[in-house]
């Protein structure tokens, strides 16, 4: 039995960041890279299934990205993934979630897992569509925003719950193979000690190109994308001021501001 876990290395903004010269992204110098928070939970869920299983379960992590992503993959290997796959070449640059999903679908066809896990969304772009799009491309059933999962390796179906608005729970039985997007909080992700990350360097990270996966160049990158980022910018700041003084003075100033706003004379 196999579980494929799709993970992403996300970017977090550093202090005083700048927008890159083309105006479509943050200057990479101002980004701190780390594994997407949701992916910690989906990997943990896969490793938990593996550890509780009587039969052998292989957990494979896959990611799309350049060499620096290996650092995050090594963390996944330290936490219990058996092997890792990374897909990259320059043609992949500029891919939107759909193009990424094409790559993940190709990886899935190659690995033939029983389950594909992805995080509900990534913390940097928050499209929340990569996992679902992959299911669409594969023609597999999917469950989105899974907050509890019951699955015994070997079984043909899995049962999961989703939290709906108003405190409702949605319990769903799903036919395998399937794609599940995992919600944060489903479990408590384990800590990968630096020592274990170092030792995980011995586990293999296989690097593939789209061509290795029989993907044409126009299936990935900007050419294979259905959307395009026009620009990224910081909106102009609204006006805000701190009103100081005693409560009476504050009230007076506030009243004056309201009058001014309404166009009344002070």
């Amino acid at each position: 039995m196999k579980i494929l876990v799709a993970v992403k290395q996300v970017a977090a903004l550093d202090e005083d960041f700048e927008i890159s010269s083309d105006g479509r992204d943050v200057d990479p110098d101002f980004l701190i890279r780390d594994l997407n928070e949701w992916d910690d939970f989906s990997l943990e869920e896969a490793v938990k299934i593996k550890e509780a299983s009587g039969e052998p379960v292989e957990v494979i992590v896959a990611s799309v990205g350049p060499e620096e992503v290996d650092e995050s993959l090594r963390k996944c290997l330290a936490k219990g993934a058996d092997r890792a796959l990374r897909v990259w070449d320059d043609a992949v640059r500029g891919s939107d979630p759909i193009a990424i999903a094409r790559i993940l679908a190709a990886v899935t066809k190659r690995e033939k897992p029983d389950l594909l896990f992805a995080g509900v969304q990534s913390s940097d772009q928050a499209f929340a569509s990569t996992g679902i799009a992959t299911a669409g491309l594969l023609g597999w059933p999917h469950g989105a925003v899974v907050s509890t999962l019951r699955y015994t390796p070997g079984a043909k179906t899995a049962v999961f719950r989703r939290e709906l608005e108003g405190g409702l729970l949605h319990e769903v039985e799903i036919q395998l193979p399937a794609v599940l997007t995992i919600q944060a909080g489903i479990n408590t992700p384990r800590y990968a000690s630096l020592r274990s990350i170092k030792q995980a360097a011995a586990k293999p990270i296989e690097v593939l190109t789209p061509a290795d996966l029989q993907l044409a160049n126009d299936a990935v990158g900007e050419a294979g994308s259905l959307s395009r980022v026009r620009r990224m910018y910081i909106p102009e700041k609204g006006r805000a001021q701190l009103i100081e003084g005693s409560p009476a003075e504050q009230a007076q100033k506030l009243a004056a501001i309201i009058r001014e706003f309404k166009g009344e004379a002070a």
Partner: protein
């Protein structure tokens, strides 16, 4: 035969050959049991991991003999117990030496070489000495019984804070029974020795060589006079002597046989522990070799033989139990019980002929003898236990080794997990951008040099708290101003500096510590400076004691001693004496860890402050509770925090105006505790740096270079 020749110890007189044979047989049996026990114990220690000791064996032996003979370590913080132990120790030592020399002559020298010395004046003097030794022994034992039975010392209460009543190993009554059995056995051996001596005198009172020299055994003679006054004759004396001889002898043989199996073995294990002590055991933790697959201690056999010996060295004196800040505030930890628990575990698993399965050797958990993770995470690694232990038990390395395994398993508070991840990602525990590390210096009227870009005399290692915590940033600015005013050529590493790793290492995250230490050593290597000064005692400790293992050997001072030098050389001068009533809190890592007790006190006095010491100061300083990574783990709600306990101690000083600290974490912990104990407004918590600034208002200082 001359008169003096005839004067000698009466040994087997009036014993039948058969009796003597039986006695020897029993004697050999006792010695055989003793040696078998020694073998079992040594086999137990050898089941631990290998360890090579550094330093010469002779200097180790010398240091151990010095400690044992002087009783220096046993006297500390309990001189009465030290004095009584000294009486017992020397009494026992002399009596044992006396008995041994008799054996030496009677069984070895005389039969083999015909040499006799145990007669005449030598015998008489020895007999006097042994009589006095017996008084010392019995006196010491009676005091110890009084102490155990009537003084009700909390440190001698074996109830465990990490167990609840009803647990099989909650208060361990077997220890109490053993304590009393030991005291009574020694007392009975001593007392029957005297009665035996008196009975012998009564029995042989018509022999001049015996009776005329009786006052060389004053206690025995006094008792003999009493017995005769009560009507005992030679026949009665003889019978009593014969019976008591056997009783006394057998009891002594039983004691010898049982040494390796009972607390009596501390005679050997405590001495051996003192001999293998590492004076830097807690200051400089051991590296994990890259080749080593497993990190930390999971099984009892993962401890080194020295640590297993440490477990057996413990005499349950309770000094660590008393000193522990976690124990003092009701946390489920007593350093004594960690040691005793592991000892019970080692005895149960490692004393039998065959080693049990690995699964049965796991020391982590809540079963008998195991150590719970709650216990391990309660430790502040403040070193109070190691510092006071009279027999050189090194608790901190044992606890950190156990924690390393917990970290590997991820068995820790989620907030601590988060902090470790943050430190890995950003190099600081605040989760702030690396770039912001030097931002606190932006508000200064002068530019703080970047030591990576231009050479400086003094490299100031700022540390996390002083760099990022808003309250401590103010102190950092003040210190920068002081250095500037004193004309010191100094700089910092800006974003080249990372968390020094002292506490990360004491949490047990050795891999992350390696990353931090290597990063800082590389950054320091890229800078040009003469000496390092740090305002952070935690950084001070690890850079001073642990970075050398990572290729970073530097001259480093804590700011207190550096500032003292600035005063001594006239670069700083007090212009506004403070005249405050102050008390000083020794930071663990400056005081106990690195013996920096005097400079902060000297500076305080230079500032014109009246220094009033708290009851627990210097080596006995009471941890603020932030050490060992505890600053990143929330304390239980409702329970007293160590810092609160400490502030209450300070608040009891009449007229106290300022509680002086010299550690960023202390400032955070104690300002909080001042508020939560309701002492706000009564006195203030201040960094020594702030007081120095008050005593040297910037404008008045004329020493600007």
């Amino acid at each position: 035969m001359s008169r003096t020749d005839a004067v000698t110890r009466i040994l087997f007189e009036a014993f039948s050959k058969a009796e003597i044979r039986i006695f020897y047989l029993l004697g050999y049996a006792a010695i055989a049991i003793f040696f078998y026990g020694v073998y079992v114990q040594i086999r137990k220690y050898r089941r631990g991991a290998a360890l090579r000791l550094e330093g010469s064996l002779w200097s180790r032996l010398g240091a151990m003999v010095g400690s044992v003979l002087s009783h220096r370590t046993i006297d500390r913080r309990d001189p009465a117990a030290g004095g009584a132990h000294r009486l017992i120790f020397y009494g026992f030592l002399l009596l044992f030496a006396g008995t041994s020399t008799i054996t030496l002559e009677y069984d070895i020298l005389q039969p083999l070489f015909g040499i006799r010395f145990w007669h005449g004046d030598f015998y008489l003097v020895f007999s006097l000495v042994l009589d006095v030794a017996g008084v010392a022994l019995i006196g010491g034992l009676i005091f110890m019984m009084y102490r155990r039975g009537w003084m009700k010392l909390p440190k001698l209460n074996y109830a465990r804070p990490d167990r609840v009543p009803g647990d099989v190993d909650f208060n361990r009554p077997q220890y109490r029974r053993e304590d009393w059995a030991f005291l009574w056995t020694l007392l009975i051996i001593g007392a029957t020795g005297y009665v035996l001596e008196a009975a012998r005198l009564v029995w042989l009172h018509d022999r001049v060589d015996v009776w005329d020299t009786r006052w060389w055994s004053p206690v025995g003679a006094l008792l003999a006079e009493g017995m005769r006054a009560l009507g005992m004759g030679a026949h009665g004396g003889g019978l009593l002597r014969h019976g008591l001889w056997w009783f006394h002898g057998l009891l002594a043989l039983v004691l010898i046989a049982l040494i390796p199996f009972t607390k009596v073995k501390h005679i050997f294990t405590s001495a051996a522990s003192l001999m293998v002590r590492d004076p830097l055991a807690s200051q400089r933790l051991t590296r994990v070799p890259d080749s080593q697959e497993q990190v930390g201690v999971a099984k009892i056999t993962d401890f080194t033989w020295k640590q297993l010996l440490n477990l057996d060295a413990c005499t349950k004196c309770g000094r660590c139990h008393e000193a522990c800040p976690a124990r003092a505030v009701g946390a489920p930890l007593s350093p004594r019980d960690v040691i005793l628990s592991l000892r019970e575990f080692a005895n149960a698993t490692l004393e039998s002929g065959v080693l049990p399965d690995a699964a049965e050797l796991n020391v982590h958990g809540k079963g008998p003898g195991q150590v719970a993770m709650e216990t391990l995470w309660s430790c502040r690694t403040c070193m109070a236990c190691v510092e006071i232990c009279p027999v050189a038990v090194e608790h901190i390395p044992i606890i950190v080794q156990l924690r390393r395994k917990l970290v590997e398993d991820g068995a820790m508070d989620p907030l601590l997990t988060k902090t470790l991840q943050t430190i890995h990602k950003t190099g600081n525990s605040f989760g702030e951008s690396k770039r912001k590390r030097g931002s606190w210096s932006k508000g200064l009227p002068f530019k703080v040099k970047d030591a990576r870009k231009e050479p400086v005399d003094v490299l100031w290692f700022v540390g996390d708290y002083a760099s990022f915590d808003p309250r401590n940033q103010k102190v950092s600015q003040t210190f920068a101003g002081l250095l500037h005013d004193a004309g010191v050529d100094f700089g910092i590493l800006y974003d080249g500096e990372s968390n020094a790793g002292n506490d990360v290492r004491r949490v047990g995250e050795e891999g992350l510590y390696e990353v931090l230490a290597n990063a800082n050593v590389a950054a320091l290597q890229s800078a040009t400076f003469k000496t390092i000064v740090t305002t952070d005692p935690h950084s001070y400790n690890t850079i001073r004691n642990e970075y050398p293992d990572f290729g970073g050997k530097y001259e480093i001072q804590h700011y207190t001693s550096f500032v003292k030098q600035l005063f001594d050389s006239g670069k700083l001068r007090v212009t506004n004496p403070l005249k405050m009533r102050a008390t000083f809190h020794d930071p663990c890592h400056l005081g106990r860890f690195n013996k920096g007790y005097e400079p902060p006190r000297d500076v305080l006095k230079l500032l014109g402050c009246e220094l009033v010491e708290m009851g627990r100061s210097r080596a006995n300083s009471f941890c603020c509770g932030a050490g060992g990574g505890r600053i990143w783990i929330p304390d239980p709600v409702g329970a007293e925090k160590p810092a609160q306990n400490r502030i209450r101690e300070a608040a009891a000083i009449p007229g106290i105006e300022v509680y002086v600290v010299s550690c960023p974490k202390d400032l955070t912990m104690f300002e909080d505790a001042l508020k939560t104990t309701g002492n706000e407004g009564k006195f203030v918590v201040k960094e020594l740096i702030e007081l120095i600034r008050e005593a040297i208002p910037a404008a008045l200082n004329t020493e600007v270079a």
